[in-house]
């Protein structure tokens, strides 16, 4: 047990009997249209799992001894059976952490949530002021999130989480985010922006600059023990001797996976694309069969080539970075991370083919084409 992280990482790379960190997006429906949405959510998919199917998946996760699941979406609270599934999961000994924009947490729901055990809630917020937040998450979403947090506090929910995707525009607010979380008795969670889903289009404008990567690393070294990160910033470990807290590896298909709203199983929440689809919970043998025997997951559990990073002295520290980030900017999977702190990502992106893979499963709401204002005219003779 004495900490020998590198040996542990080697063991985890070979995969586990069941995931540690399973994300389950319950629906593609969402009241918001965040520009970085990793699942391009907006509209419900008619093929989404029924209540009975979802409960059967939970039965299976119980048998596999999955300790807890991360529920997201879309906005999971939109599902009419949301509380039913929540209670069913917790009743089967599977703790739940769910992510929400807070729009459906009123005073009564906050009390109901506060009465449940083994439940964690993450409210998404991408700015400590409405201007910064709403530019990414949509008009009114800041006020909505703060209102939900007030309800949770008033209901005595306890320590909920505030979940932030770090961007070029909110990176200077990290101290303010921490202060905001503290003022609610909440815990701060910051994660890395990926060019996934609608993020494929917004990433180039939103992802932190190279100087800001240093800033995030320094901030995490100073605050890391009290801030959750989903271990998503491990590419920054190349910046110094001291590794960031958490697991320094890509967990995709090894300790992590995603079940999407229609039951498809992907290697991680950031790679909703056919190339990373391992199977479906609707297949014969269900989720367990996919997790244990899919070809894709078997491949991901093999030792990975360092590829273009072989000769870089930092490879052991950064592990080549995030697979999803590389994939959606067109960098080969054995190439450098696009946000490589040594700057190798920039060159790799320039060399990447112009044909970047497009995210699949786009459930964005129809684009409202702005029609030019019609000017009533009367044509006639003067």
């Amino acid at each position: 047990m004495s900490a020998n992280p590198s040996r542990l990482v080697e063991q985890l790379k070979g995969g586990l009997d069941a995931p540690i960190c399973l994300t389950w997006e319950l629906t593609y429906a969402c009241n918001l249209e965040c520009v970085h949405c990793l699942s391009s959510s907006g509209r419900r998919d008619p093929r989404e799992l029924t209540t009975a199917e979802a409960k059967a998946v939970l039965d299976e996760l119980h048998d596999l001894q999955v300790f807890y699941i991360n529920i997201g979406g879309g906005e999971p609270m939109i599902r009419r059976d949301f509380f039913e599934l929540l209670e069913y999961s917790i009743g089967r000994g599977i703790g739940v952490k769910f992510s929400t924009n807070g729009a459906f947490i009123d005073a009564a729901k906050a009390r109901r949530l506060a009465a449940m055990e083994y439940l964690d809630i993450q409210i998404s917020l991408d700015g400590t002021d409405a201007v910064t937040n709403d530019a990414v998450r949509g008009e009114g979403s800041y006020d909505t999130a703060i209102r939900a947090m007030n309800h949770l506090r008033d209901a005595g929910f306890g320590e909920f989480k505030i979940s932030v995707v770090v961007t070029r525009h909110n990176v200077d607010q990290l101290d303010e985010f921490k202060a905001l979380a503290d003022s609610f008795g909440a815990q701060l969670r910051i994660t890395r922006m990926r060019p996934s889903g609608r993020g494929a289009d917004s990433w180039h404008d939103l992802h932190p600059t190279n100087a800001q990567q240093h800033q995030i690393y320094e901030w995490l070294l100073a605050h890391g023990d009290n801030v959750l990160t989903g271990d998503s910033f491990f590419h920054l470990n190349a910046l110094g001797e001291e590794p960031l807290p958490g697991l320094n590896m890509c967990g995709a298909g090894r300790v992590v996976c995603l079940i999407d709203p229609i039951g498809d199983v992907y290697a991680c929440p950031f790679v909703i694309h056919d190339e990373f689809k391992a199977g479906s919970v609707r297949d014969l043998g269900g989720f367990g069969q996919v997790w244990k025997h899919s070809e894709l997951f078997a491949e991901l559990r093999e030792p990975q080539s360092a590829g273009a990073c072989t000769s870089c002295g930092s490879y052991d520290a950064c592990q080549g970075g995030c697979m999803a980030a590389k994939f959606f900017v067109g960098i080969p999977l054995d190439g450098p991370d696009p946000e490589c702190v040594s700057g190798h990502g920039e060159a790799a992106m320039l060399a990447a083919s112009a044909e970047r893979p497009r995210p699949m499963m786009d459930h964005s709401k129809p684009v409202r084409v702005a029609t030019p204002e019609r000017i009533p005219v009367t044509i006639g003779r003067r």
């Binding site: 047990m1 004495s2 020998n4 040996r7 542990l8 063991q11 070979g14 586990l16 009997d17 069941a18 540690i20 001894q65 300790f67 807890y68 000994g93 703790g95 083994y118 964690d120």
Partner: protein, 91 residues
């Protein structure tokens, strides 16, 4: 440490894995890796024996390895995976 009366916290679940087991505490949400099958056997047997020394002996752990078990179990106690058993009062 060796004379302590420890047991697995009832809120902790163990999941067998090829390397040993995962231990998850439903209360404080901590996840810990038990990185050797012997460690899993010891942790599971704690409740059946009076002291840690008794447990290590009955699990046939060589005495040269006891110090590493002691420090590992101390860490598990720190993270509340193990707790002190209430002394049994008789009479």
């Amino acid at each position: 440490m060796l004379d302590r009366h420890l047991e697995l916290d009832p809120q902790v679940a163990l999941r067998p894995e090829p390397f040993g087991a995962l231990a998850y505490h439903y209360g404080n949400r901590k996840l810990i890796f038990l990185k050797h099958p012997d460690m899993v056997r010891v942790v599971q047997a704690l409740g059946d024996h009076d002291t840690l020394a008794d447990t290590l002996r009955s699990c046939e752990i060589d005495e040269t390895r006891w110090p590493s078990f002691e420090s590992a179990l101390a860490a598990l106690t720190e993270s509340e995976m193990l707790h002190e058993r209430q002394p049994v009062t008789t009479g």
